[in-house]
C-alpha cells in the first residue's frame, strides 16, 4: 500500500480546511501530520475485505414528529452572538470584491 503520509500536503490541506498558516507553521504541520498519519496508518495492515463499515449507533427507527409549525429560534437572540449583523441578517465581507458590495 502507498505510504500516503508521503503525499500529505500541509498547504493543500490547510487551504481545504480554511486555516491560514504561515510558512513556519506549514513546515511544522507537515512534520507533525506526517508522524500522526504514520501512526494512524497502522490501520492499513488489517485485512478488512467484506467488513461493513460502522458509522455509529443510531436508534433503529427514525423518530418522526407531527407536521406542526413550532416556534423557531428567536432571531434577535441568535444574532446577538454574531460579530456583525444589521439586526435581521448576518453581515459578511463582500464575496465578489468591493465595488459589488454596495447593495450587499
Amino acid at each position: 500500500m502507498v505510504r500516503s503520509q508521503e503525499r500529505f500536503s500541509a498547504e493543500h490541506t490547510a487551504r481545504l480546511a480554511r486555516i491560514d498558516l504561515n510558512s513556519e507553521q506549514l513546515e511544522n504541520v507537515q512534520l507533525e501530520l506526517e508522524q500522526l498519519l504514520e501512526f494512524v496508518g497502522q490501520i492499513d495492515q488489517l485485512k478488512l475485505d467484506g467488513v461493513e463499515p460502522f458509522f455509529g449507533i443510531s436508534s433503529t427507527d427514525n423518530p418522526m414528529r407531527s407536521d406542526e409549525i413550532q416556534p423557531s429560534c428567536p432571531r434577535p437572540e441568535v444574532l446577538r452572538n454574531a460579530p456583525q449583523t444589521d439586526g435581521e441578517h448576518y453581515l459578511v465581507p463582500p464575496v465578489f470584491g468591493k465595488q459589488d458590495s454596495q447593495e450587499g
Binding site: T13, L37, L46, V51, E52, P53, I57, C73, P93, K98
Partner: protein
Amino acid sequence: MDLSSFSAYQLLELLNQQELSSVDCVDYFLKQIENRNPDLNAFAALAAESALEQAQAIDRRRQKGEAVGPLAGLPVAVKDGICTQGIRTTAGSRMLEQFVPFYNATAVQRLLEADAILIGKTMMDEFGMGSSTENPHYGNTRNPWDLQRVPGGSSGGSAAAIAGGMAPLALGSDTGGSIRQPAAFCGLTGLKPTYGRVSRYGLIAYASSLEQIGPLAWTAQDAALMLRVCAGQDACDSTSATRAVDDYASEIESPINGMRIGICRDQLGKGLAPEIESAIEQAVSVLESLGATFVDITLPNSSHAVPAYYVIAPCEASANLARFDGVRYTKRADSTELDQMYSKTRSDYFGQEVKRRILLGTFALSSGYYDQYYIRASKIRRLIQQDFDRALNEVDVILGPTTPSTAFKIGQWVDDPLSMYLADVYTVAANLAGLPAISIAGGVDSNDLPIGLQLQGRPFGEAALLRVAHQFQSQTDFHTRRPN
C-alpha cells in the same frame, strides 16, 4: 461542617431533612471556590448570584412543605462545552470567548427541572480535544491531589471541581475518555452513558457519533442520581434513545453474586503501570468475595482502537468545526475579503491542537484518501463493536484499567500529541462501540495518586455498571479519600 467530605447523596439527605439549607450548601461551595479555584483553575465561569437566588427559592419551598425535585438544592458544576442559557459557554476556545447561549442543553435543563443549582462552568481542553485540560487560552487546570499534575481531560475542570471540594456533582462529556480519564486521575466516579442515553442537544459538537454527556461524582450512587435525571429521549436530539430510563438508584442496591465479569488479560502488562495492574487484581478479589465470577475474554481488535479513533474523531471534528467561520459565533478576524475572513478567523481563534485535528480530519476525508482512512477506520470500528458483542454475550460487564498511568505532570506531553493520544488507549473503544463505561477509584499509587478502574457494559447496561461500582464501593474506601 466540612461539606466536601460528603457525597451528593449524603448532602441531599441533609437538605431533605432540612438539617442543611440550600443557601448554606451553595454558600459553602462558593467559598470553597473562592479559596481554592485560584490554585486549581477548575472553573471557567461562576453563577454565584443566580445560584444563591435559586437556593433561597428552594429553601422556601421546602419550608412550606412543597414538593421539590430529586436534586433539590444541590449545587452542580457543568463542563463549559455544554450550553447554559445566559451564561458564557466557551468550550475552552477563544473562538467562543464571548459566546452566550440563549438556551440550555437538555441535560442542563433537566438538572434545573430537578431543582439542582448550577454554580458554575468548568474548564476543559479546547472543544474537548485533549486529555489534560492544559488550555492554551484559559490556563492549566491542576489536579487537587498534586498541583504539579494534570487533572486529566477533557472534562478536567469538572473533575478538579469535585476533587477540590468545590462542587459535589458535575456534568462532563466523553468523546474518547473525557469523563472517565479525569475521573480516574482525580479519584472519582465518572460514567459515559450508552450512545443515545443522554441527549446531546446543547453539547458543542466535536465528534457527534462518539460523544455523550455524563456524570462525574464521588460515588456510583451519586452518578446514578445524576444520570437518572439527565437521561431519556429528547425531541431535540434524534439520536437520543426512546428506551425507558432505569431506576438506577434502586438497581444498584442488588447484590452482584452470580454476576459474570470479563477480564481481558491481553490489555494488562505491557504499557500498563504495575500499580494499576495490581489494583485490578485486588478489585478482582473484592468482587469475587461479593459473589461475582471472573471470565477471561479477548478483544482481538482493541489494539487498533486508538488509530481508528484518531481518524474518525478528527474527520467528524473537521466537519463539525466548519461552523466556526467568523459569521455566527462572536469572533471574526478583520478582512475585506470573505474567503480570507474565514481562514484568518479560524487561524487566529483556534488553538494548535484543534487545528491539528481539523487538518488531520480534512486530509483523511479528502479526495483520494477517504476510503483509505475514514472507511477503513469505520470498518475497524465494526470489528471492535463485534468483539464487544461477542464478549458481552459471555459476561455482564468487563473490568480493566481506565488509564495506562496515574495523573501525569503538567507539561509532560504538551508537545508530544502522539503520547497524549495514547492516554486514551483503554477508553476510546467504548466510544467507538457506543457502549456505556464507568471509571471508579480503585487504588492509590506510591505517589498517593488515585488509580481508576474501568467497567464496560452492554448497550443501556448502565444499571449493571453502577451496581458493580456501588457494591465495590460498599467494600472499599477509595471513594471516600479526599486530597489534603
